[in-house]
Amino acid sequence: MKVQPWLAMAGALVLGPVAPVFAQEDSPPPSTEQKVEELDQKVRILERRAELAEEKAAEAAKTAGTLTAGKDGFSLRSADGAFQLKIRGYVQADGRFFLDDTDRPASDTFLLRRVRPIVEGTLWKNFDFRIMTDFGGGTSSVQDAYLEARFSPKFKLRAGKFKGPVGLERLQSGADLLFVERALPTNLVPNRDLGVQLSGDLASGAVQWTAGLFNGVVDGGSTDGDTTDDKEIAARLFFQPWITQTAGPWKGLGFGLAATSGDNTGAIAAPALPTYRSNAQQSIFTYRSDATAAGTTIADGARERLSPQLSWYSGPFGLMAEAVTSRQEVRRGDTRADLEHRSWQVSGSWVFGGTASYKGATVKTPFDPANGTWGAFELAVRFGQLSLDDDTFPIFANPASAVSEVSAFTVGFNWVLNKNVRFVLDYEQSSFEGGAARGDRPDEKALLSRFQVSF
């Protein structure tokens, strides 16, 4: 039966109040009290559901990983900390300007000194890894790629490519350096090498020991493989007797000794010998090489290094000192020699508005001009020397192009805005013995600047 809509509406209006009465025959209409009770139940159910959802979320949060971003970089971490992934890195935009270089011109340049993304992490709580590449200077290279098993704080095993345990300043991260460039002794110690290393901290870190077997690299060099069977052992002992103290001037004092020993054999095409650089990264020493057996000096025998080292950080004051001797048996044609080169450096610094440390100056109040805080300022000075063995000249190196000694001093000013950003400005001056056709190579004066962002 079709009912006209207007009729239905009228019926509804007339019968509306009566309809529930009919309905009451089966089930009486709910009273106001019942309706309120029903609504009250609904509200309670909704509240309880929300409460259970919160409990579930809290429970899930206990086992869920966390994603954090902050001054130490970006990280993913499982709830129990057994698995972690950290994304870090640093970029150094440098300027390098030479003064009074008319006699021996050098290029003034802006450059990307280091562009280093870092991925590091932990697996199963005790296994760490680190991968660091470098795109600085328009090239790309793998700087670090290693795995480390932490069996206990006293005993760790590392394998892969990483810094050899020798130079004090070399072991400092490139992002934590006091000056734009490392000092002269770094010329004589290994950079990154491939191998296996055991290490650990004894007596709550008061004694740090490291020993490893490596391919072996030339002074200041890095490697991605080895074409010979020659290998090198390296070891380092470093003491920080007062490190466990909560405070005190000696807490940051450390001293130690590092050494390497191995064989190194080169060939005419690959002499396996180093080039040394000034603090302003200019080549100042190379061995003779003309692609002939008679005219090329090659490594041929034992190579040994020894490096006593010391660092001391106390409040705003910082001091670093190290010396290195590097001995290498060389040969040119039938002429052999056992050459020993030496280098040392001492640097001191004072931080205004922060504290000095091996990991770079820390800032008390980060840069925030709106609140009148400007970060920390650091003044630094450094002296150093590199002396080549007298027997090097003239047979194994050309005295007209290779210097026999360099003395350098550096004055630095660092503006550390916060943990992540810093400006560095250094004045470098080096004076040389030899290294020129007549007399000595002219003094090298350079202004080095850096704008660094690290995280």
């Binding site: 309670r44 159910i45 409460e51």
Partner: protein, 331 residues
Amino acid sequence: MKIGRWFRPLGLGLLVAAPLGAASLLNVSYDPTREFYQELNTAFAAHWQTKTGDKPTIQQSHGGSGKQARAVVDGLEADVVTLALAYDIDAIANAGLLPKNWQTLLPHNSSPYTSTIVFLVRKGNPKNIRDWDDLVKPGISVVTPNPKTSGGARWNYLAAWGYAAEKYGSEEAAKDFVTKLFKNVPILDTGARGALVTFIERGIGDVFLAWENEAIYASRTLGQGRFEIVTPSVSILAEPPVAVVEKVAKKHKNEALARAYLEFLYTPEGQEIAARHFYRPRLEAVAAKHAAIFQKVRLFSIDEKFGGWTKAQPAHFGDGAIFDQILKAGR
């Protein structure tokens, strides 16, 4: 270093002696046993000290029975488990942490006490709930935890199913009955204790399907005078089992302590404590003493109606099984 070498055995000796002197035990249990095991632990510690001279430390962990079993399988180092149903301990046995014949190692299928499922209703029973049929009526709000996560809830579910299958004569009718029942459940808590909070503290629902011990505890302790217990015409015999997690106990070198702890549950003292916490004791003398607490009810066992947990669990509570279908139909 010579001195170091001499001291090493002494150090090892001290390491071994330390745990012997301060034995500890972890009992991983289900939701409603908190208060029961608190009292039992104190009594057992005194008993063990009298017997051996050492006072053990007994820790307890509670949660939904299935969830607790998974935690043990995943590495929670329980020396003993006292769970809501045998299936959960079977899961631990299947993980190789205790022998498959664990139910034969202690009397009464390793169930030192029993319970059943009853109804807790609000004072005066305003919705006049008397038996299972009343729970499926429109407008009745039923509180029970989720059978997927709570052992107690599985007993609730099977009790309702057993009743309906018997009364209406078919599995289909039983499924229809239980589907209707779960349509009346507004919230599915993960454990029995959470469901108790829902019913008592949050004031939700007309009836709470509860372990008998939990219902008596709630009516006497949590909401004195606010609730009444309704015993249905028929219910299920719930047999919460116990077992030593032998692999863990062996690792902790406390197998003897763990075994003694569970055996203590069968002693008159252990049975008395169980009865005080409203679990039905196995020892007749203790049961007779507390007969007034427990209403007479016709009970069926899971073996009788469902062929045991090994059949009931996959058929009803496995992924995609009958309970999942019921839940899907009700939502």
